[in-house]
Subunit: 317 residues, 2 copies
């Protein structure tokens, strides 16, 4: 079922439209969770999004992939990217509207279809809700805006016209980290080699992980040739070299489980229970060989901080 969303862009409006995505922090500045940010991981491919900025809706977007944990886009190109402050990046294919729509001018038609809670604009004034970022709206509200917009413009709004997915953004981010590693004067060339091998789950990282974990947590397979050494806290998000090579920051997973874990479709509790995202059907989990365990194996204390990161910052819920 298609869900409809409305985004009140913040200062990254231009980057978001040109880059083909939305970006939000994970929590408010005071550390509290916000539904408007949690919505980033509820959005799914083919959902539709109205883009609201400078008092008007000038673009409509189609979600092209699930959200990915990523640093603030303004920092993509700067040397001092603050990897500790990652947010959610949601890939979107934007199209300009034929006629931009000013919600304030049509608020009398729109008001009754806006949500009572978490509305993106005031149903009285039509002014943007300062706290809102990504808000869910009804299909009726979406349709009314589209009625006033004329036809969609022809081409995509992105600078390069291509549709980007999470894997593309992940590549860009990881390549940026590789450049930082290669340019780090505090690292020897053999350390650099190992850090970069770790990106693909190879080298010393793999050896370290297999000393901590000897079998896939889900399938029980122990044949190392069928296992991938997968970071719990993603390689690109690690704070330092220690985390990138830490055997406690990895699991040995069969490839299906590695993909699900890497993309946040599954996670684990500290006592070893599997958590499954509602984004994947039960029948798909079955076909992928992912079943609940009879006897979950608890994780070691040194793995807990990484698992907590995965549940909060990778798992899509």
């Amino acid at each position: 079922m298609t869900r409809y969303w409305w985004v009140n862009h913040k200062q990254t409006f231009k980057q978001e439209i040109n880059g083909g995505y939305l970006w939000s922090p994970k929590r408010e500045a005071n550390g509290v969770r916000s539904q408007f940010y949690e919505n980033m991981r509820l959005a799914a491919p083919n959902n539709l999004v109205l883009s609201f900025a400078h008092s008007r809706i000038a673009y409509v977007g189609r979600v092209t992939d699930f959200a990915l944990s990523a640093p603030k886009p303004l920092e993509f190109a700067s040397a001092g990217a603050n990897w500790d402050e990652e947010g959610w990046l949601l890939p979107i294919h934007w199209h300009p509207l034929g006629v931009p729509v000013r919600p304030k001018e049509i608020i009398s038609r729109l008001a009754q279809f806006l949500p009572e809670k978490y509305s993106p604009i005031s149903s009285q004034t039509g002014n943007g809700n300062q706290k809102a970022y990504l808000a869910e709206i009804s299909s009726q509200a979406f349709q009314i805006v589209m009625e006033f917009s004329g036809n969609e413009g022809s081409g995509p709004a992105h600078l390069d016209g291509s549709i980007s997915r999470s894997a593309d953004f992940k590549d860009v981010l990881e390549t940026r980290v590789e450049e930082l590693i290669n340019g780090d004067l505090n690292l020897s060339s053999s350390e650099k080699v190992q850090l970069i091998k770790a990106r693909r789950g190879q080298g010393i990282f793999r050896d370290n992980v297999s000393r901590v974990e000897n079998a896939c947590r889900v399938t029980g397979i122990t044949n190392r040739r069928l296992l991938i050494a997968s970071h719990i806290k993603p390689w690109r998000s690690c704070a330092d070299s220690m985390q990138r090579l830490d055997g406690y920051n990895g699991l040995m997973l069969t490839p299906n489980v590695d993909l699900l874990f890497d993309r946040g479709f599954i996670s684990f509790t500290n006592d070893g229970q599997i958590l499954k995202s509602h984004h994947i059907d039960a029948s798909e989990f079955d076909r992928l060989g992912v079943f609940d365990f009879d006897k979950p194996k608890a994780f070691l204390p040194k793995q807990h901080q990484y698992l907590q990161h995965h549940r909060e910052s990778v798992f899509l819920g």
Copy 2:
């Protein structure tokens, strides 16, 4: 069960010992199959290998991974690598023997334990069999040589001392192809981007494949977010840009199946039947969700040439 092998190195002896592998062509110069080359894909991790060159055995090796299709190592570093003439590369961890052994001098003890067919040396003279490359020997023959060798030397023979696996060699080869692509004056920068994205199953290649194949051949999954666009003829082995981006040279596979197909643990007949390598246990195939099909779906004629390459040059049998 450990199998024992004996290699008569050819002109790539030094590269093989220093590089940590064995390399052979796939067929003889006249196109005929040779058991000595077929043995490259029968060798499995932890098998042991005696290294025979210049009339003596000076190294013993442990197989560290299954064979990988790769160009002749002498050409690794040259610009004009002939990718059409790929052979088998078998990763080996070599150790020097304390005392090199001359088989000719111990042939009276060795002779009765040598195989009647496909022997690496003559049981009469102890001279090397010119046609032999990798020959299987009995555990007794192996033990006799080891008795005469003194203890194994301490360190590995490789220049860098590290254990290499197929994934490492694959990375080296693929990086070399990337360099060739980046240096190709006949390609535009956007073509280069697409060719390099295709290495990871992304970009135009993925779009092309999903127009030909809409579901995983093994699991039937159609959710594109759970599928990997996998080359049939490996990306590194493709003759040109057309093959690297050709939708008929790919399958959409769930990750377990992608790994098995990429590493040659499964292949397909042209009429869509699955072929399973004897290197993977039946119970492992079960856990990975790989079962025979009730109704195999035949491949299209344009896919056949790529599948033939996969069966002959990737599948381990």
